[in-house]
């Protein structure tokens, strides 16, 4: 067990190192330069451009820049080039905004997918299964932005509820319950959007896992013992079918950093996705690189956790 953890950590650190190099190269090799140091930018005089270049170390060779950047990152000093705010602080703020969206979306996805998938598998071929399957296909195929607008039209026309942004403009003085409900209303559609695609994919996966497990010999043994169907399905089959999903649990982690750019654009939600998008447009290198780095850390941590969980949960691997 310990040797597995040790090996894993080492491998992942090496991967992280390479990721940092690759992302650095991608950013710097791309054409165009950050807006402040663009010589074409009319707002800045040549002297100012030169000063910024010196300050951002852009005149030094690439590997020196790399060392500077990561030095700053680990000491927490990185500063956004666009608006001079500390990058980490900026990311943290936006993260707090994205967090409720992410949490609600993930909760909805995971709590709804399993019952749907399991029921589809047990009553395979029935009406429930076929309609759930068809709805899943539609959900996977519908473009997110289109569905967003459809929902917006529906909700605004029939419920007369504001949906854009974090909270309604000017509601600051209303009592706490109003504030709370307002937040909920604003949170509802974006997280539903994020959840629908997820439910579709996850429930199909749950269904196929359940079907595979139900075809195994030990289920036949369980039935031959005279166990009632509920015990056969929910005790014997489910426990085996859930194994891969425990590992998927670890893979939720990377989702923390990736807000969906499209959803956040449509709903004017000031989240991580939009921040990264704006940073890309402005060539705000520190922000882009930091977001990349954090996302890579989360992905690697997520895979590590899911490997660990798999070790814990499957008795065949433990010993």
């Amino acid at each position: 067990m310990l040797s597995f953890i040790g090996r894993s950590v080492v491998q992942k650190t090496i991967t992280l190192f390479f990721v940092s190099i690759v992302s650095f190269l991608i950013i710097h090799l791309a054409p165009g330069s950050p807006s402040q140091v663009d010589p074409m930018n009319p707002k800045f005089t040549p002297e100012m451009v030169e000063r910024f270049q010196k300050e951002f170390h852009l005149d030094k060779p690439l590997y020196i820049q790399y060392i500077y950047f990561y030095q700053d990152l680990f000491t927490g000093k990185t500063v956004s080039w666009k608006d001079n705010q500390s990058v980490l602080k900026k990311i943290w703020e936006r993260f707090l905004n994205s967090l409720p969206l992410f949490v609600v979306g993930t909760l909805i996805t995971w709590t709804l997918s399993f019952p749907v998938g399991i029921r589809s598998a047990i009553f395979r071929g029935g009406i429930y299964d076929r309609s759930a399957t068809f709805i899943s296909y539609v959900m996977i195929s519908i473009p997110g932005f289109f569905f967003a607008y459809v929902l917006i039209i529906l909700v605004v026309t029939y419920f007369h509820v504001p949906v854009i942004g974090l909270k309604t403009f000017g509601i600051g003085d209303a009592p706490a319950t109003y504030l709370f409900m307002d937040r909920i209303w604003h949170l509802l559609i974006p997280s539903m959007l994020g959840a629908t695609g997820g439910i579709a994919v996850l429930s199909r996966y749950v269904r196929s896992q359940m079907l595979e497990v139900e075809g195994q010999d030990y289920i036949r043994t369980a039935r031959a013992k005279g166990l009632p169907p509920e015990q056969v399905h929910y005790k014997h089959a489910l426990r085996n079918a859930l194994l891969p999903f425990v590992t998927m649990f670890g893979l939720i982690l990377p989702g923390l950093i990736g807000g969906s750019v499209i959803i956040e654009s449509i709903f004017s939600w000031p989240g991580m996705g939009r921040m990264a998008y704006e940073a890309i447009l402005a060539r705000d290198y520190p922000v882009i690189l930091t977001v990349n780095f954090v996302s890579a850390v989360l992905v690697l941590a997520g895979t590590f956790i899911s490997d660990l969980l798999y070790l814990v949960v499957d008795p065949r691997i433990r010993l």
């Binding site: 010999d217 005279g226 085996n240 065949r316």
Partner: protein
């Protein structure tokens, strides 16, 4: 049913004209095509046949474990303790499974749930049919493991299936089958996946358990050597039908169906050393595309024109020995008569 006078009470299990068909890929596979057999109390009955002859399907249909979308019991009756259990609904069947009739399967590793301990799985088998408290349950399971010959049972109860050897796993399966003291155990090729030495141990175990608990055993196998060791009566099955039945002596010493004779001749033995191995030419027919008339006739060296035209009935050789081959049946010198239409 034959007209021999019954020396016992009515049989424990009586299968009459069972037909199980499967719908697959546009064709109707007649896996079991009208078989009849019975198991009486305290006896070991063996069904022998090659792979694909329908013996496992017959066993599974007794317990109602045939998956119903592709499979279907089209005809026949299975009478257990006086009632036709084909007609029973799911709840009633659950009371029988594991309780009065239990089953041991062929592959012990895949037949045990890998994520539950042995103790869990055996305990479950007991608890479903008899309510017991935890402590009593534990002791009962330890006793069961003792009965099937597993050393240090208390520790073994906390182990997972993959931590045991093949032979031990099969013993655990047998323990699970014995848990509620069933009247009948169906064993579907339980030793095929095991080494020969372990095979011998498991067979000895089955014999001793049967004597101790006065149960009946329906043993399914393709291995005539195994069958000769434990069977009281034998049914030989081919392509979904019974081709011969009788007790062990009758089958092994005076087999009357060409298929049985071929099987026995194919057994290697020291007396045949240095001679050419005998084999039955041809292959088992596809259950969806069976030959007309006698299903064995394409491979038979005694075949006549009538074999292709009419489906043969059972010929009675007396004392419970029946064979489905009119060609080899010589009426003079034998008691009994050729019974038309015995399926």
């Amino acid at each position: 049913m034959d007209e021999r006078p019954m020396t016992n009470d009515r049989p424990l299990l009586c299968v009459e004209n069972l037909k199980v068909y499967f719908q697959s890929n546009g064709a109707r596979a007649r896996a079991v095509d009208g078989i009849s057999f019975e198991v009486r109390e305290k006896e070991t009955v063996c069904i022998v046949g090659e792979s694909g002859c329908g013996k496992t399907v017959s066993a599974l249909s007794i317990l109602g474990l045939i998956p119903t979308p592709p499979g279907e019991i089209v005809d026949g009756q299975i009478i257990f303790s006086g009632q036709n259990i084909i007609k029973l609904d799911e709840k009633a069947m659950q009371k029988i499974r594991g309780n009065h009739i239990s089953m041991v399967f062929q592959e012990p590793l895949t037949s045990l749930n890998p994520v539950f301990t042995i103790g869990d799985q055996i305990g479950e088998a007991v608890y479903t049919h008899k309510q017991m408290e935890t402590e009593a349950l534990f002791q009962y399971c330890v006793q069961l493991l003792n009965d099937v010959g597993i050393p240090s049972p208390k520790q073994r109860l906390n182990d997972y299936p993959h931590q045991l050897s093949g032979g031990q796993r099969q013993r655990v399966m047998i323990a699970m089958a014995l848990a509620c003291d069933p009247d009948l155990i169906i064993a579907d090729e339980p030793t095929t996946a095991l080494d020969v030495t372990v095979q011998a141990q498991i067979l000895a175990l089955l014999r001793s358990i049967q004597k101790k608990r006065s149960m009946s055993v329906l043993y399914i196998s393709h291995d005539l050597g195994v069958v000769s060791a434990i069977a009281n009566r034998i049914y030989v099955m081919y392509a979904g039908i019974m081709v011969e039945q009788g007790n062990t002596d009758q089958i092994f010493r005076s087999a009357r169906h060409p298929y049985t004779q071929g099987l026995l001749a194919s057994l290697p033995s020291l007396s045949k050393r240095g001679k050419r191995l005998h084999s039955i030419p041809g292959t088992v027919p596809n259950p969806a595309y069976k030959p007309k008339g006698c299903p064995f006739h394409p491979r038979c060296r005694h075949k006549k024109l009538s074999c292709q035209k009419e489906y043969p009935g059972m010929c009675d050789y007396g004392e419970g020995h029946l064979a489905r081959c009119p060609v080899l049946f010589k009426p003079k010198g034998f008691k009994g008569s050729r019974i038309q239409g015995v399926k």
